[in-house]
């Protein structure tokens, strides 16, 4: 009679004990340390430790839709989960720029179309109105007007492309030391050893090559596109194609090598660091039952706040990158489309050389777009990989 009673009681005691342990394991660490206020305080402390002045000055220098908020306001909004930019807002912003640039470039394009049409009409009647030589001279004068009008724009866009690349470099030099410091604080040693040289290579190697080697090659391609269409007797199409392809081959090699190595090494390093941090956390928790979890949660809170600040700062950097490239890219795309439109309109009425010239300029514009987007994409991948590092908390 007594044995079953004792057995039932033991089971009850065991069940109650298990329940207490489970409740303690669930609630004790949370109530003791994982306090939301404490996390907020730690996050704010770390956010305030960042030197915002340089970033604010840089943001002020950008002509973009981001500067209605300061960098710190953006960061704070991101930290508190209050910043949301929908794709609709962004698309609206891009379309606004698109149509404003379209409106500002349209008069010049209409000038080009008008001069080309005039040139076409004169060329068609040159046998009756002028002699061959005079007709050619008139064409040359009209073509010069078109070249000067077009090259004024081209020069502006080449300059804005160079400025965008230099700004990307400046952004790297401003944000990367901060992001790397947070990675060091979190303990992502392996990822840090991968990203530190990669970032230096991007800022001081690839962007320098883009500015000092690839941009001049594209400018040569622009000049030869003009020269090639001046005379029917001297054709420079193939050498123009060579310079374009050479520029793109150099950039292609730089982009492929950088992206491939960074992605493979970065993902590997991220996994290694995440596993190491998880292992450290697991070891602390299991070294001393219950109280170990208590301490691990406390350490987690410091790490979690660092991760939160790192990621929010990374997103601010990405928004700034977007702000740097969006205007030049949209401007170049608009100009490229307008050049194609102008070439399309004047094709039936004017000399083939003018049509070829406008088409060549339009194609060369896309090289500048590829250059900006390629460099931006490389930085985007770096920042994205840094954001995804050590998110184990």
């Amino acid at each position: 009679m007594i044995a079953p009673f004792i057995k039932t009681n033991r089971i009850k005691i065991f069940l109650v004990f298990c329940l207490v342990i489970i409740v303690a394991m669930i609630f004790l660490p949370n109530t003791a340390f994982a306090d939301e206020d404490e996390l907020t305080t730690l996050t704010e402390e770390q956010g305030n430790a960042i030197d915002w002045d340089e970033l604010e000055d840089f943001l002020d220098s950008l002509e973009s839709g981001v500067n209605d908020k300061s960098a710190f306001e953006l960061f704070s909004a991101l930290i508190h989960g209050e910043y949301t930019v929908g794709s609709g807002d962004f698309a609206k912003y891009v379309f606004e720029i698109f149509f404003s640039r379209l409106a500002s470039a349209l008069p010049s394009i209409l000038t080009i179309v008008a001069v080309a049409a005039l040139c076409g009409l004169l060329a068609k009647n040159k046998s009756t109105v002028f002699g061959k030589s005079t007709g050619e001279l008139v064409f040359f004068v009209c073509f010069s007007v078109i070249i000067i009008t077009t090259l004024a724009y081209v020069w502006t866009y080449v300059e804005s492309t160079k400025e965008a690349l230099i700004r990307v470099k400046t952004l790297i030099n401003i944000v990367m030391p901060t992001l790397l410091a947070f990675m060091a604080a979190i303990g992502s040693k392996v990822a840090l050893s991968v990203y530190q040289p990669a970032v230096a290579l991007l800022a001081n190697g690839i962007i320098e090559i883009a500015c000092n080697v690839i941009m001049p090659l594209i400018i040569i391609a622009f000049v030869f596109s003009v020269v090639s269409n001046l005379s029917n007797d001297v054709r420079l199409d193939k050498i123009t194609t060579f310079f374009k392809n050479f520029a793109m081959a150099l950039f292609g090699i730089a982009f492929t090598v950088f992206s491939a190595f960074l992605t493979v090494q970065g993902i590997n390093a991220n996994v290694f660091d995440s596993v190491s941090l998880r292992a450290a956390k697991y070891a602390t928790k299991n070294y001393i039952p219950i109280v170990g979890g208590y301490l691990a949660e406390g350490l987690d809170l410091v790490m979690a706040s660092s991760v939160l600040v790192k990621n929010a700062f990374g997103v601010v950097a990405l928004l700034m990158l977007g702000a740097i490239i969006v205007i030049p890219v949209v401007e170049l795309v608009v100009f490229n489309l307008l050049m194609q439109l102008a070439a399309g309109i004047i094709e039936p009425i004017t000399d083939e050389r003018i049509v070829k010239f406008l088409t060549a300029i339009s194609k060369n514009m896309m090289l500048l777009v590829v250059l900006i987007l390629g460099v931006a994409l490389m930085l985007f991948v770096v920042i994205l990989l840094i954001i995804s590092t050590a998110n184990v908390f």
């Binding site: 730690l42 790297i172 990367m176 410091a181 000049v223 001046l230 005379s231 109280v291 406390g298 410091v302």
Partner: protein
């Protein structure tokens, strides 16, 4: 490179001018042929220079490193160590060790040691019989999981 581009543009403009001012006739095609040869010469003009020049690709890869912001790293370490010091002090307090002056020091590898300054420490009456450093070491090991090798005591 700039001079070369100007030369190419110049020779093409000259060809165009010659084409405009040259009268129709037998000599026209010979002049055009000469201009084409001249243009080719101008186009290949920089090649010998490019081939003989020691173009050093390496100079673009001798790069300065972009390193972590040392000032920020130090501030982040301070925030981390302050938080740990407060946590350790709270655990010591709850275990009867009051007024402990704790310093957490991080080395370059972000590994830490804890310095305990004993001069102001007050321990609960029921623990007076225990040797103070032994008591604190025990609390560190049992409650915080910090091993004895990481703790150093100062009077």
């Amino acid at each position: 490179m700039g001079i070369w581009i100007i030369s190419v543009t110049g020779i093409v403009a000259l060809t165009l001018l010659v084409d405009i001012i040259l009268p129709e006739g037998e000599s026209n095609k010979y002049v055009k042929a000469v201009m084409s040869i001249l243009t080719t010469f101008v186009l290949i003009q920089p090649l010998p220079g490019v081939l003989s020049e020691n173009f050093d690709v390496g100079e673009y890869f001798e790069i300065d490193t972009v390193s972590a912001d040392a000032g920020l790293s130090s501030k982040l370490d301070d925030i981390k160590t302050d938080y740990w010091e407060n946590t350790i002090t709270a655990v010591l307090n709850s275990n009867g060790v009051k007024n402990a002056d704790i310093k957490v020091v991080l080395d370059e590898e972000k590994d830490f040691v804890v310095k305990v300054y004993l001069q102001n420490i007050v321990i609960a009456d029921n623990q007076n019989h225990i040797f103070i450093t032994k008591l604190i070491t025990q609390i560190f090991e049992d409650k915080l999981g910090i091993s004895a090798e990481r703790i150093s005591f100062y009077d």
